[in-house]
Amino acid sequence: MTLADMIEIATNLIVWLALGCFIVVAARNAIALVQLLVAGWVFLTRVSPGEGASDLWHRYADLTLPISVIAPAYNEELSIVQSTKALLALEYPEHEVIVVNDGSKDDTLGELVRSFDMYETQRTQIAVLQTTRIRGTYRSRRYPNLLVVDKENGRKADAANAGIGFARTPLVCIIDADSIIEPDGLLRAAEPFMYDDNRLVAVGGAIRIANGCTIRGGSLQKIGIAKEMVPRFQIVEYLRAFLMNRVANAHTNTLMLISGAFGLFRRSTLVEMGGYRHDTVGEDLELVVRLHRYMRDNKRDYRISFVPDIVCWTEAPAALRGLDNQRARWQQGALETLQRHRGMIGNPRYGRIGLLAMPQIVLEDVLGPPAELIGYLVLPAAALLGLIDPMMAVAFFFVSVVFGCALSVGTLVLEEQQLRRTPTARDLIRIGIAAVVENFGYRQVNLWYRLSGFRRFFRNDTTWAAVPRMGFGPN
């Protein structure tokens, strides 16, 4: 093989690589555009919850399905009492709060026992789904609907499984201990069950970033926008994920993710499935994918719904340090889920999940990040070397960056038109600026973090580093 041959092969390789990257990025954005349009249609035609229905619901409160709110807690001694009080105060006819102390090294359990006047009890566990030992269960003398389960440490999935095992209600709501649930969040999330004909198995809800908000006593007092840019970028990301992606996917019955920060499930279905898996870092995605698989394998008619109203607020990493670990973990979790359920990808047996939703995850989580990052390097280089039409590099920039801005601003349009939870016009402008600026640096850094998730996946890295958070202060 001569040098000329080698150069020609390399040239062809670069051209094909550039074309491949372009196609992948364009396909991702084309799907996102379709999702934006579908979400727009859903919001346009969405009937807001009627007072007639909610009046009946309140009048016949026994028709609402009782819910167990399961809050796994690990080293939360500073905030657990306030968080638990906020959970107990949620508006819902019948709900139980199950706090699972996941082997905290601090005084989380002690704080709970003292603050809620708790005593040890022998509560029967309906289903044993956890892999670690239960040390004890505690009930409160003052709050009959509070149960604390103390167990050995085993991560969030294990703690949630322990809670599911102790729940006695038809529905379970799995949250993070630091999730701030809207006072009527449970009511809103449970509403689809009122119209349900026994097919509904899970409901997800929109989650927003709490950084910059005023939080007191574990409850949201005032909505605000963080001063730092990183949380603002994440507000845009969350809006894109929840108002565009999930609304559209739920509309087409292809919802593949219910966030770990807030998810409402039928307890019996979770128990049948064995609860969350312990051997993945992306247990929330894996659970929903497995739920689809389980229901379809067993030929059961089912539905997974999504409530576009904000049901929960969560604290996001305030700086890039912390975000890196979170994003790498999300990426690793997605790859682990795809590997475990690879048999579903493109498989007509799983209907639209196999043919549409799973390939979309492949495009979004396997091909997308490297293609975009490589594209940023290869396309300009190939254009400069005269290997491709320079307009192709310009078009790549437009498809990835300019179109990315448009999609982000588009979700802001949806938010302002439908939910209007951004406090002021000034805040809207701030988020609008973040929606544009995030495409110049933040987006690329994020892609890099996701690539490190690939590295962790191939190394089979199972370490779990907590995401550093600022907290909401002693109040």
Partner: protein, 325 residues
């Protein structure tokens, strides 16, 4: 022009259009914030004006307030008024033609538009509103709209008789939802006799169950005999519904068959019987409940333990004076 030029152009136009829409929305919000004080002042004036008119005072009615603004103000005042004052306000609202736009929208082409109108009509609940809601429930081509109209009528205690309600919401063609059950329950106190007559119809059991459940909400103690019959029905779901209804009715005559149902061979019926025992405060059922703590079914065992705890008087639970023996 190459395909790449087209992509750049298309992307630019799309991005520009979206950004312009966003800017319009920001401007709308900004103007709304700017005018907030003036708007609040106007709303206060409208509210004061209507309250004065309700009180029979002579006020200037020739102000230039839009119908929607006035409708919003009345919506805010309505929940604060009762009896004659409320009726008077509704009459004034109708005289002012405040609901004209809403009534027009209730004939709209889009489902969302009609349902939004239904929500407003329900809030006002005047005779005109109820008449239009009945019309929507009876004639609208969309089932969702009919159901919303039914919910609105139920909220105003103005549902048609149960047979008619079931026909209009096409109940027999689908599985009942929890809101259907709520509709039936809200019909029961209005038409208890018709509910009982309906049971003679050839109904699918999945609906019969909910009819029996609803009878418990009628508040009519004479239905106890019907419930007794249902409590020995061959379908366990109907037996369970009869127990639920009896517990709701709170008739002491139900105690005998509630206790008997504690040994029913079907788990769900035993569970309903346990709940009914608690609801009726049947301390006499404690021996049978104690036996159920050894039931092979875990749920029965757990609920029986819970029931005993609730029926057994303790220092804390304060149920001592409430239970019936």
């Amino acid at each position: 022009m190459s395909v790449y030029h087209d992509i750049v152009l298309g992307t630019s136009i799309c991005a520009l259009a979206i950004c312009m829409v966003f800017m319009v929305l920001v401007l709308r919000r900004y103007l709304a914030e700017l005018n907030r004080a003036r708007r609040d002042e106007r709303d206060t004036q409208i509210t004061r004006n209507y309250l004065q008119r309700v009180a029979g005072q002579k006020v200037d009615v020739s102000t230039n307030w839009g119908r929607n603004t006035r409708r919003a103000a009345i919506s805010r005042i309505l929940p604060l008024l009762r009896g004659g004052e409320r009726t008077r306000l509704l009459q004034i609202a109708e005289l002012d033609g405040v609901l004209a736009e809403t009534l027009r929208k209730s004939h709209g082409v889009y489902r969302k538009e009609r349902i939004d109108a239904i929500h407003l009509l329900q809030r006002f609940g005047s005779e005109v509103c109820i008449a239009r809601l009945r019309e929507l429930m009876a004639r609208d081509g969309n089932l969702k709209v009919r159901l919303e109209a039914a919910f609105a009528l139920a909220a105003n205690d103005a549902l048609p008789p149960p047979r008619e309600t079931l026909r209009l919401i096409r109940a027999m063609e689908r599985q009942p939802t929890r809101l259907d059950i709520a509709l039936l329950r809200s019909t029961a106190p209005l038409y208890p006799e018709q509910m009982i007559l309906l049971l003679d119809d050839d109904l699918p059991d999945r609906w019969r169950v909910h009819l029996i459940d609803a009878i418990g909400w009628s508040g009519d103690m004479s239905v106890i005999g019907i419930l007794e019959q249902a409590a020995s029905h061959s379908n366990p779901e109907i037996r369970g519904a009869a127990l639920r209804a009896s517990a709701r009715l709170g008739h002491p005559g139900a105690a005998q068959w509630v206790v008997a149902a504690l040994v029913d061979p079907v788990i769900s019926v035993r569970l309903q019987a346990i709940s009914a025992s608690v609801r009726l405060g049947l301390r006499s059922a404690i021996p049978q409940l104690s036996q159920l703590t050894g039931d092979p079914e875990l749920w029965v065992k757990l609920r029986a333990e819970q029931a005993i705890e609730e029926l057994t008087p303790t220092e804390r639970n304060g149920a001592i004076g409430e239970v019936r023996t």
